[in-house]
Every structure is written in C-alpha cells, then in structure tokens.
Amino acid sequence: MNSVQPIIQIENVHKRFGKVHALRGVTLSVQRGEVLVLIGPSGSGKSTLLRCINGLEHVDSGQVIVDDIPVTQSAKNINAVRAEVGIVFQQFNLFPHLTVLQNITLAQRVIRKRSAAESEEVAQRLLAKVGIPEKADAYPAQLSGGQQQRVAIARALAMNPKIMLFDEPTSALDPEMIKEVLDAMLVLAKEGMTMVVVSHEMGFARAAANRIVFMDEGTLIEDTTPAQLYTNPREERTRQFLSKILH
C-alpha cells in the first residue's frame, strides 16, 4: 500500500515473562530494503523483540505493525504476517524426519498451495543459491551445522518473504562454518531484502548493515551506523559492551 511507510513499525512495546520485564517500551521502525543489525548482552531482549515481529510472542502493550498489518492475537493477522516474514533460528530447527528438499517444499505445498514440481524447482534453485545443490536428498542430521543453517535460510526464502529475521544465526556454528552462512546472508542483503539480524559478527555488520542498534535491559540504547558505532559509540554502556566483544 503506502510504500514510504516503514515496513516494520514497533511502537512502545512492553513484554513481561512473569517478573522479568524483557521489553521496556521499545520503539523502532525499519524501512523497506534496510538491513538492521541488533546487538546487546545476553538477556537484553533481542530474541524477544524479533519474536514479537512475527507473532511468536504476543506483546503486553504497545503495537507492532508489519507491512500495514497489525500483529495482534488474531490468528488471521498473525498468519498473514508470518507468510511475509521469514525467520532463521540459532538452532536451525530443521525438520529432522524430512529430507532437505522436503524441508523446503513442505510449507510451499501446505501454505502456498504450490504443486510438487513447482515447489521442488523453487527448492533446487534456492539450494543452488545457498551453495549446496547436491544435498537435496540428505537428511538434516547428515549435514554440518553450516549446511543446516543454509538449508534453514533456503526454507524461509521459499515462502518469498518480504522480511527476513535472523536470531544469532552463526552462534551455534564452529568457527570455520560461520563464513559460509554470512556469505549467504550477504547475498540476500545485496539483493535488497529487508533484514533484521541479531548478530555480533562485526564483519557482517560493516559489510551489509545500514543501521546498527544496541539494546540493553529491554531498551534501545543507541541507533546509528556500524562505522559510527564501532569507532565512536555515543553511549558509555555501548562502549563497555563493545570492549567486551571486540577482541
């Protein structure tokens, strides 16, 4: 509809888990085609914020609007939003009982109602794109972590999302596999995909991010460019955090 409006609008969102106040009035918007990297200490609410965007968590107050659709408790809205938003998890979460190909075709067939032939074609194309065309018939347990994460990316892309969310996609990987996953994400960013990425990989942020947001204790502390943040952070808390992770 109105394409000048931000594709993601988060307004004064609060989220509590029992006594834990995970999000304390977060306001943030993301423009179409923007790549936003989210950093912050463990427990600062990064995952929770990401999960509010695709309705895996319901906000207590405030609102989230994705592509003009309010993410409310309404099942209709949530399913509409989820069809537009892909998410990649730290633990991959591939379906272990299905082959790589079936992992990528399942939702296409069930949700997008594509034919077997069409969905397989899409899957093969995406597997080639993430660099593992030969693994179509393997089971997830037969793949390395890096390969599994690339399948997870392909699985999300197969739904033709307008937005991709990444929650620490390389944190569970052995160091030598991090690059192959970041490379696949970089390709996406270059193509103009709107991305929100929770990751402390500075190389990726510098190469791909338009914006970087530092979050602590459920609030946004600093919202700037990677160059600015890594060389000259405005806030003392950001400085302290960076000194812990950049060595």
Binding site: F89, F95, Q142, A156
Partner: protein, 294 residues
Amino acid sequence: MPDFGSRAVSLPPARTGRALPVNLERVPWWIIILILAGVLAALVIFTSPDYTSIITLLGSGIYLTLYVTFLAYFLALIFGLIAGLMRVSRNPILYTISTLYVEVIRGIPLLVQILYFFYVIAPFFADGFSKGIAITLPNVFTGETLFSATLRSEELAELFRSEVNEGIIALAIGYGAYLAEVYRAGIEAIPRGQMEAARSLGMSYIQAMRYVILPQAIRIILPPLGNDFVSMLKDSALTSAISVKELTLWTRQRSANTFRPLEHWTIAALLYLVMTLGLSLIVRYLERKFAIPK
C-alpha cells in the same frame, strides 16, 4: 512386559567375573531355549490327535481374541490421540476434560472398568437408544432451545447389547487413557523449536501438529505403543468375564466339559505366547523401519 528380540543381544553382560567366554555369553540363550521348547511342544501337539483336535476347537477362540484385540487397539489409538492432543492443549477446558479421563481410568482396575461398562453403561445406552434419547442444545446465555431432537435407533441399541462390542469399547476406553499419556510424552519430547519453525512458516497449530510434530512423535512412541499392543492382547482375556467367547473362555469351557485342564490350559498358554512373541517381532521390525536416518 519382558523384552523380546534384539535388545537381549545388544545389552552388555550384566555380570563381571563371567563364567562363559564373551561370545557365548552374548548368545541370547533364553530365545534358543524358548524356540527349542516351542519345537518340542509342536511335535507333541501335532503327533497327538487329542492335541490337534483341541487346537482346532480353540481356533475360533483365537479368532475372537485377535478380533477384539485389533479392533479395541485401533479405537484406543484414536481415543488416545484425541485425549493426548487435549492434554497438551493450552485450552483449559480441553485439558481438564482429558486429565479427568486419564486420571479416573488409570485409578480403576481394567477388569472393574469392563464389568462397569457391561453392567452399568452399556445397558444405559442400549435402553436409551431403544426408547429414544432426547438431545437439546440450549443457548447458554438466553436459555432458549437452539436445537432439539430425539435420537432413537434399534441398531445403535443393538450395538450396546453385544458382549463382544461391549468388551471392545471397554478395552478401548481403558487403553485410550494410557495411550493418551504415551502420545503426550511423545509430543512433549519434540523440541519447542520445531513447533516455532513450523508456525513461523505460516502453518496453523493443527498443520504443524500433522506435518511436523506428530510424524516425529510417532517414531518416539512406537516402542511403548507396541508394548501396549502386546499388553492389550493379553488383557483381552479379561473380556471372558463378560462372556466374550475368546480364547480364555473357550479354554475354560472346553477344559471343564472334557475334564482335561492340563492339555487345554497348556495349549492356551502356548497360543498366547506365540501371538505375543509374533507381535513383538512385528513391532521391532516397524521400529527399525521408521527410525529417522542418522
């Protein structure tokens, strides 16, 4: 339920200071003894005309035992799946109903359940269906009647007058409660990320259950489901208490009539053993067939 088959082979030796060399100790001796005993029994049975005629006579009892077992198990799988899904549901009404069912049933001996169904519940329905059961659906808010009909059917009434049907339904209700817990444990064993990944791809809760959670849970619960199937076969003997003429009741009547309990009960026990062993082997085969490739 003892474990038959491959488990015995793969278990490490239980004792140190072994009396036999390793390779001999790893042989599943008890299976071999069982097979030898079986062959011996078969020889005795098939060379003696008495035994042969007993087997033939007990044949229809075996048929009914298998019929009751398979049908009751099939129903129990469905009851169990429904109750199991209700048990993991976040809806408090569904959860409460299913929990009541599971807890009540598990606290009552199966034999008492069968007798209760036979003497109390089945006659109630049989009577009701032959006289006609009035069904009214009131609007809870206004109290006015939304829907009203009288259900009257001699066929449905007849369903509740046959001992075999009563036995099958009672067994299925009893086992459904146990299977519900098996399903629940299987579903809960699937990591939360699986449901989240499925939902994030746009699947509804039911679609995620059907395509992602249950196919994985089934593989986990196949061994306990198989064990319960074997138990069901043995517990089908309880329906003899409501005069279902399955293997146990047949044996009882024939041995009383002929004054030859030794032959009849020996053969009945052997037949049960053959059936449970056979089923265990099938279950083991299925387990291996459906294992997720590593």
